[in-house]
């Protein structure tokens, strides 16, 4: 399908009319969390976020940007490795390498002799890097949610199959549903509904969110990333609120099935096992992370690494931003001194980070 159809002004206008009618009938201020950073981007880039706020519906960004929720201790461990040990090739995604620390971000560090930092675009690139660097230890700083984990897991298995001895992984692999439970259980965010992530749900389906409707009676919908998708998701949540129901709807049926993608999940399960996970802003959340089954491939084991929190920026409000407790503008650093040119925290670095999105598109208003 042509994505332009899902972006056009007249489709947006038609859906907004329905949103208006529902908001009038519900007749109270609403808070809906969009879990995924790409939804935050859609809402703000299109100007719909500001328009909906004026109408009494506030969209709150959730913990759905992998760069943003990776704890400083993991970035610190990677930094320590590449600055202290010779002949390391540290590879990661561009945004991850630009996460600021009180020292420098990873791309600007001075690596130890023979060590380097490399930007990659796709997990399996590390296999070629490892094959091409026999004298080096290649370490992949692999972060991601269920969207990215299958391809990371495949890379891990491929490394095993081909007997690559010089490749290992520093992982921050996290699962999307557990922090949503943490947010609801803490009772501090007062949410009326959820927009569930599109890409993650292609893999896990809609079933893993059912507990939210069942146990917390909070409505929600899975949807895609075009303005029309976002509005369809919001409409489905509003209809549930109006009818006093709580379900997990799929407003993204062109990509998501309730059962997700079992083949991708098999790859994940074969390479990784569920463990407690550390999150920026949340601390440890039970059964929220994955670790490699093959402990020999875990760089923490191979190089006796430890979480290194000496890289933590205490003033940064990213932890509260990813929990939906504050909006980016409420962080004392937002805009001054923290900007995309001089970011102080990961949410101002990542293209999915809500601080960067608010900074760039904060004034955008839908007027079509």
């Amino acid at each position: 399908m042509d994505p332009l159809l899902l972006r056009e002004e007249r489709s947006v206008r038609a859906l907004l009319k329905e949103v208006d009618a529902l908001l009038e009938r519900v007749d109270r201020e609403l808070r809906i969390m969009e879990v995924c950073g790409t939804h935050t981007m859609t809402a703000h880039r299109s100007g719909l976020g500001n328009l909906l706020r004026k109408k009494g519906l506030r969209l709150i960004s959730g913990p759905g940007c992998p760069v943003c929720i990776t704890p400083d201790g993991i970035v610190g461990a990677a930094a320590a490795l590449v600055t202290e040990r010779p002949d390391i090739v540290l590879a990661s995604f561009g945004d991850m390498l630009r996460v600021p620390t009180p020292k420098k971000h990873l791309l600007h560090l001075v690596p130890a002799k023979g060590s380097t930092v490399k930007t990659i675009y796709s997990p399996e690139e590390v296999l070629d890097i490892a094959r091409a660097s026999p004298g080096k230890q290649v370490v992949f700083l692999a972060v991601g949610f269920e969207t990215t984990i299958p391809s990371i897991a495949w890379t891990v298995e491929e490394a095993e199959r081909s007997g690559l001895k010089n490749l290992s992984f520093i992982t921050c692999l996290r699962l999307v549903p557990p922090p949503l439970r943490a947010i609801l259980a803490s009772g501090e965010s007062g949410l009326d509904g959820f927009i569930y992530p599109g890409h993650v749900s292609v893999i896990i389906g809609s079933q893993p969110y059912e507990f939210i409707a069942r146990e917390f009676s909070v409505p929600g919908a899975v949807t895609g990333f075009e303005p029309v998708d976002l509005l369809l998701g919001i409409l489905s949540v509003l209809r549930q609120i109006e009818g006093g129901e709580a379900r997990v709807d799929i407003a993204y049926s062109r990509a998501v099935r309730p059962e997700g993608n079992p083949a991708a999940r098999r790859v994940m399960a074969s390479a990784c096992e569920v463990t407690d996970g550390e999150w920026r802003g949340f601390g440890a959340i039970p059964a929220s992370g994955l670790r490699l089954r093959n402990r020999d491939l875990d760089a923490f084991e191979r190089f006796s690494l430890a979480y290194d929190f000496s890289w933590e920026n205490m003033a940064c409000g990213c932890g509260d931003v990813v929990r939906g407790l504050i909006e980016p503008e409420q962080c004392p650093l937002f805009g001054n001194p923290c900007t995309p040119e001089q970011p102080m925290g990961p949410c101002m670095v990542s293209v999915e980070g809500s601080c960067l999105i608010h900074y760039k598109y904060g004034d955008t208003m839908w007027t079509g």
Binding site: G47, G94, F145, T147, T148, P340, E341, D363
Partner: protein, 327 residues
């Protein structure tokens, strides 16, 4: 000689042979043939002068190479400044070991692009640096020409015209680098824009070619430079299907991608139709379109973009580097 050697740089017999067999064979003309230290030129009236350096990787990409780019880049800087390009200089910085066959290809491209644009290479220089001290081949070109128009005088109500689709160069180079394992036919739009010179006689007030930083950055410079409000509509910006698709996949904004053969043109509203008709008659201007206007809001020095979905937002110049999203 198969590969460029360091001894070429000593300026002796080898260099003379290099100049005769390679440079003059490809680029020879009455002005260059004497191999004098400087060129004597005939130019009437006010003279325009510019320079640019080219360091692209890969040196060869679909739709062009560093040689074509080096001619087009400098010719285009002149054309958009109201200058009819006449003469170019060509300086080569070669890495020891660079294949002579590749250099021949680059020089052929220089010759073709110069002939296309109606300019002569009249002076030049060659230096060789040790292996590892340069990345194959760097080129600097300078260009001079005759001033035919004095750009300026942008005012409220003027329209903003784009001479064709944007982002083709960026995407072609990305595909050629095999950074993303995309396969397909995608050509750079790299070309000299001498064909736009008649626009200066058609009422055009301001022109800029779109290179690094993309359309968005040029529009910001226009707004800031003229201290005027600029309004553009995303839906009117022409994009080729591959640029649209690859931008979607990688999460890149095509408004920030580079072109090497497109320009933004500003003209009075009543001239717009004639200009677009003229542009559409050119090979590089088939998708030319009016994309916005001066005015439309109160924020002087700033660009407001109306997105395809109907949102109004401020358009910022490119900051940092373009990074694809990771999920």
């Amino acid at each position: 000689m198969d590969r460029i050697s360091l001894s070429l740089g000593s300026g002796g017999k080898l260099m003379r042979e290099f100049l005769r067999t390679l440079i003059l064979r490809h680029l020879g003309n009455p002005c260059l043939d004497g191999l004098a230290d400087s060129a004597h030129l005939e130019i009437r009236g006010r003279v325009g002068f510019t320079t640019d350096s080219f360091v692209i990787q890969p040196i060869f990409f679909p739709g062009g190479d560093i040689g074509r780019l080096a001619v087009a880049g400098t010719v285009n800087d002149l054309v958009v400044s109201g200058i009819k390009p006449l003469y170019l200089s060509l300086s080569l910085i070669l890495e020891e070991g660079f294949p002579v066959s590749d250099l021949k290809k680059v020089l052929s491209s220089v010759r073709e692009a110069a002939a296309e644009a109606g300019v002569m290479v009249v002076t030049g220089d060659t230096k060789v640096v040790r292996r590892g001290e340069a990345d194959g081949l760097y080129i600097n070109t300078a260009g001079v020409g005759q001033v035919v128009a004095e750009p300026g005088g942008i005012e409220g109500g003027d329209v903003i015209i784009l001479t064709g689709s944007v982002g083709d160069h960026s995407v072609a180079v990305m595909v050629a680098r095999r950074e993303f394992e995309f396969e397909g036919e995608m050509e750079s739009d790299c070309r000299p824009l001498h064909g736009l010179l008649p626009l200066w006689q058609m009422g055009v007030k301001w022109m800029r070619d779109i290179t690094r930083g993309g359309l968005a950055t040029i529009l910001c410079e226009c707004a800031e430079g003229g201290d005027v409000p600029v309004f553009v509509e995303e839906a009117r910006v022409p994009l080729s299907a591959p640029v649209r698709a690859i931008s979607e996949i990688l999460g890149l904004d095509p408004l920030y991608l580079a072109s090497e053969g497109k320009a933004v043109v500003i003209a009075p509203r009543d001239r717009a139709e004639g200009i677009v008709d003229f542009l559409r008659s050119l090979p590089a201007g088939k998708s030319s379109a009016v994309i916005g206007r001066i005015g439309g809001h109160e924020r002087k020095g700033e660009v407001v973009l109306k997105s395809i979905s109907g949102g109004l937002r401020l358009l910022e110049p490119l900051t940092g580097e373009l990074l694809p999203r990771i999920c």
